[in-house]
């Protein structure tokens, strides 16, 4: 065994470990009910839930009461609904969003999101027809 080969084997082992731990540690997309079940086992792990904002229920944000608290209801792809608490101001495009990815934990019936990624239907790309007034 030459020193270079030993070093290479060590590096390859670290690389393999990195990739395995990446897939082991990275969260899976789950439903609210799965997040609830998993959160009971691992209360400090975060889960990703793909869902939609329930627009028929109120979205509460009162900056003067608490600038860091947003409460709303979301429905995941299986139709489960959950209350969501987010300790940040309301994201600006929240109501326009088509899909939300919530990252956080489920605890006693409430999903505590640490981050929200919102996907808007057509951010910029298919903007409505730009119609001006006729030129003279």
């Amino acid at each position: 065994m030459k020193p270079l080969h030993i070093a290479l084997i060590i590096i390859a082992a670290i690389g393999l470990a990195t990739v395995i731990s990446l897939y082991g540690n990275t969260a899976q997309y789950v439903s609210f009910s799965e997040a609830e079940a998993l959160s009971q086992e691992h209360p400090f792990k975060e889960y990703h839930v793909v869902c939609k904002l329930n627009k028929s229920k109120p979205l509460e944000y009162d900056a003067q009461e608490d600038a860091n608290r947003l409460v709303f209801f979301a429905v995941d792809s299986l139709g489960n609904e959950s209350q969501v608490i987010f300790n940040k101001p309301k994201p600006q495009d929240m109501e326009r969003s088509e899909k939300l990815v919530l990252i956080g934990r489920h605890k006693s019936g409430v999903f505590y999101a640490s981050n929200i990624l919102s996907k808007c239907p057509s951010k910029y790309e298919d903007a409505p027809v730009q119609v001006g007034t006729a030129k003279n």
Binding site: L4, L22, D66, N68, R96, Y124
Partner: protein
């Protein structure tokens, strides 16, 4: 498509079709010329008469002129606001200043391919000036790359199959719905351009100085990655033992690493200046896409250096150069195919070109395979079979819709994966065989040689790449294998990269203290001892001063200090023939400064607006440690009311009010925040802005105060005008002349009709009144207490129709509308006018903003380190070019 409307063909008025047709023509010219050039350069590499070479050069120059032509035509269309062209309508608008018109140029995919192609042809012209046996084969590869790139602009369609997407498509063919706009019924469809008066505009986030120079820098970096690849192929073509390709490839790999690195940091600086995620690096897939080829190209450059100096590791040098070019193509595929979808905030939309992009990636891997087998028999038969399969499989999967037969398409997918892997393995195997003799066993690296440590450094860089690669490619693997893995967060990267960066830093620090082949023990042992000793002392002091005690961060701190110290010491101690010889020390040192800046500005960053509230105590985890990401998170935003002060850590911050931008900038609202340092008493004003963009919703752009040792970064998270407000009530009408005073129904506000102005507009006469309002009570009537409101109305001069434009002020709780205007005297003097004013009222709301302020300590080290690094690269490149000249002279 538009012909449903009328039986006779419609004559569209006012279109500059000739210019777009010229554009199409130059695209075809550029494509055909690159195809001819690629073929002629290939022939020229096998023919010494020079006949093919002459033609090849002409074709390539013709191609370059074609590319320049495309650039000129596209820019003219944008410059003259020809909104009949889809690209111009989509990406620009009348209001854009010229320097941002340049940014529109590369906002779209077609434009960015054009930019890449432009740089490639510039590099090609530079390479053409050199007279060497490499010119023909290298240019053949460059021209082949141009074939691939220019085909992206062709815009040819056969049924569901696209070949490229042209930037010269007409708006009416891309968006036939525009011809259905109701108003065209009276104007006539042919006059549709009279209605399309303005374009969609440039994404406001991209309207930034850095967005003018960041993409060209990045694409120049991408384009330079082709050159070492081309030299490697040319070297392999000559035979696996050839080493003459290494010197020129090394120069270009240094150019690529330097420029790409600069481009990446420029992108980070843009993100820091105009996005509100609070930082310059978010491990976004788009950022990673350019980081990956950089990491590998940096490793490749070092491998080339080893090969140049010792003749060893030829196999690794070839392989890394190939991999880094493939990664550039893979990065393009990732960002342009739409596969990242929700993974990225700013990935580009799918133009339906993912198949074509994949095809190029595979074609270039196939090319590597083919050339590496150039020595073996039966190559051409297997080669053609492989090539056909490589092209056929993605094509079939494009033509046959996925719904046709799931069994068949999954068969194709697995077939493709199998073929891809065998090609890759075949290439590596053949490359090993071809280069085998050069890597003879006697030439094994000694542990006290520079090449041993440099090789390890390159391997650790690749290790870092492996993590980024697998994490960024998760959406690809999800799609291929049906996984449901979530997209990794920044923390998932940081956790691993923190440790992976340490061996790289250590090797970058000690590498210089070793000589190639063998080093006398007293040199390297002494070198190691003094630099490690000094760095240890310095890092303990720094750790104490900066309060960085966590093991991982402390080690990172130590290694970055060691990287800086060891290289600075080496540069000071070591005499070089020319000062340019210190390039590598300076580049390494700069990288150390950059990483030190990254560490301090992230670990010691402070959210000045953070607060703890009732019930907000951090939870403890299973181990009983305080869990900083507990169920109750940090409360990172603070509210500030207008005219009041709030403490942001050691700053006293007053919100002075908002102002609307002027002219073209009127879409932006600026929030004036006055900061006063309670310790030193120094004060400054920050004006973060928000933009209520009709297409993108509300956007917030931060404002940052730069100090030498820290930055104060501030952005608006929420503003009071977004609140739903209660309706106005207590409406009351008053009939008044100018100068008269009146009150609202509850008499809480005193009002005065101040002055009047009018101006004509195409829709009629617009009349504007200036009304002064103040709260009743103490101090009322003082001029300083007044706020001014400007209600308007419009009279249609023909019909006499009257239209009021009321104003509302939540701050005063006042609604004000002009109900009527009466001219009392035929002489229309201002004092002869009588107005009926309607007032309404509600509870006044004090305006406020919710803001987040972050202190980034020593972030300037990140930028300073980058500048040093680029300087170091420039010096090394200059040194290598000089060497090359001396060698040829």
């Amino acid at each position: 498509m538009a012909n449903e409307l009328a039986s006779a063909p419609i004559q569209f008025q006012g279109e500059w079709l000739w210019l777009g047709n010229t554009g199409h023509a130059v695209v075809i010219l550029a494509f055909v010329a690159s195809l001819l050039a690629a073929f002629a350069f290939y022939k020229a590499s096998q023919d010494d008469s020079g006949l093919w070479m002459n033609w090849a050069k002409r074709f390539f120059v013709g191609h370059s002129m074609g590319v320049l032509g495309i650039v000129i035509v596209l820019f003219s269309l944008i410059f003259f606001h020809r909104f009949e062209y889809y690209y111009v309508w989509r990406h620009s608008s009348l209001a854009l200043p010229t320097h941002y018109m340049i940014s529109c140029f590369w906002e779209g995919q077609e434009g960015s391919f054009l930019l890449w192609m432009f740089w490639n042809s510039v590099i090609g012209l530079v390479l053409l000036r050199q007279k060497s046996t490499f010119t023909a084969p290298v240019m053949a590869v460059m021209a082949f790359a141009e074939v691939a790139l220019s085909s992206m602009l062709l815009g040819v369609e056969w049924g569901s199959f696209h070949l490229g997407s042209s930037p010269f498509e007409l708006l009416r063919s891309e968006r036939p719905d525009f011809l259905q706009i109701p108003i065209l019924g009276s104007l006539g469809v042919g006059n549709y351009l009279q209605v399309i008066t303005d374009g969609n505009g440039l994404n406001p986030l991209l309207q930034n100085y850095w967005m003018v120079i960041h993409p060209p820098t990045l694409f120049f970096g991408f384009a330079t990655a082709t050159v070492p690849f081309a030299y490697s192929l040319a070297g392999l073509w000559k035979g696996g033992q050839d080493r003459s390709w290494i010197r020129p490839a090394l120069i270009w790999s240094l150019v690529c690493t330097g420029i790409l690195g600069l481009g990446i940091i420029m992108g980070g600086y843009w993100a820091y200046e105009s996005l509100n995620f609070g930082g310059y690096w978010a491990w976004d897939p788009v950022e990673n896409a350019s980081l990956m080829p950089w990491l590998l190209m940096a490793a490749a450059a070092h491998m080339l250096l080893i090969s140049k100096s010792t003749g060893k590791h030829l196999f690794s040098a070839h392989l890394l150069v190939h991999l880094s070019f493939w990664l550039v193509l893979y990065a393009t595929f990732l960002t342009r195919s739409g596969i990242l979808g929700e993974a990225s905030v700013h990935s580009f939309t799918d133009l339906g070109l993912s198949g074509q992009l994949l095809l190029f990636l595979l074609a270039f891997i196939g090319l590597s395979w083919w050339v590496s087998h150039s020595g073996s028999k039966g190559r051409s038969r297997i080669g053609w079979g492989m090539a056909l399969a490589l092209i056929g499989i993605p094509l079939l999967s494009l033509v046959i819709p996925e719904s046709a037969s799931t069994g068949f398409s999954s068969g194709l997918k697995w077939g493709g994966i199998l073929l891809f892997s065998t090609t890759l393995v075949g290439f590596i195997q053949s490359l090993m065989k071809e280069t085998a003799n050069a890597d003879s066993a006697e030439n094994e690296d000694r542990i006290d040689s520079r090449e041993f440590w440099m090789f390890l450094g390159a391997m650790f860089l690749i290790l870092s790449l492996v993590q980024v690669f697998f994490a960024t490619s998760i959406p690809v693997f999800n799609k291929l294998f049906g996984f449901k893995t979530a997209v990794p967060q920044a923390a998932d990267y940081n956790r691993v990269q923190l440790w992976l960066a340490m061996p790289v830093m250590a090797l970058m620090a000690m590498g210089h203290w070793f000589r190639f082949r063998q080093t006398a023990p007293e040199i390297w042992i002494k070198g190691l001892f003094k630099t490690v000793g000094l760095s240890l002392g310095m890092s303990f002091l720094l750790a104490w001063a900066l309060e960085i005690f966590e093991l991982g961060y402390f080690l990172f701190l130590f290694f970055s200090v060691y990287l800086i110290t060891a290289n600075a010491w080496y540069a000071l101690e070591k005499k070089k023939k020319t000062w340019l010889g210190h390039g590598s020390s300076i580049a390494h040192l700069g990288f150390g400064v950059l990483l030190l800046g990254v560490l301090i500005s992230s670990v010691n960053q402070r959210i000045l607006t953070a607060s703890t509230g009732i019930g907000m105590a951090p939870e403890r985890n299973e181990k009983g440690e305080i869990d900083s990401k507990g169920i109750e998170f940090n409360r990172e935003n603070a509210i500030v009311y207008k005219g009041r002060k709030a403490p942001f850590s050691y700053y006293q911050v007053e919100y002075k009010g908002a102002r609307q931008g002027a002219g073209n900038d009127s879409i932006n609202e600026y929030f004036l925040l006055s900061f006063r340092d309670t310790g030193s008493g120094d004060s400054f004003v920050l004006e973060p802005k928000t933009q209520n963009n009709p297409k993108m919703g509300l956007l917030a752009e931060p404002d940052t105060r730069h100090f030498l040792n820290k930055d104060i970064f501030t952005h608006v998270s929420y503003q009071s005008s977004l609140d739903k407000t209660e309706p106005f009530a207590g409406f009351k009408n008053d009939t008044l002349r100018l100068g008269q005073t009146f009150t609202t129904s509850s008499a809480k506000l005193a009002l005065r009709l101040d002055s009047f102005s009018s101006y004509p507009s195409p829709e009629g006469l617009i009349v504007k009144l200036k009304v002064a309002a103040s709260q009743m009570g103490f101090g009322s009537g003082l001029e300083s207490q007044y706020q001014y409101l400007y209600p308007q109305f419009k009279i249609n001069t023909q019909s006499g129709a009257f239209e009021s434009a009321p104003v509302e002020s939540n701050e005063l709780g006042l609604f004000l509308s002009i109900q009527h205007m009466k001219i009392l005297d035929p002489n229309p003097k201002a004092e002869n006018l009588e107005f009926v004013m309607q007032t309404g009222e509600k509870k006044p709301v004090i305006p406020y903003v919710v803001v987040k302020s972050i202190e980034f300590p020593w972030i300037n080290a990140v930028w300073a380190g980058t500048i040093l690094m680029v300087l170091g690269f420039a010096m090394s490149i200059a040194k290598r070019i000089r060497e090359q000249r001396q060698l040829l002279a």
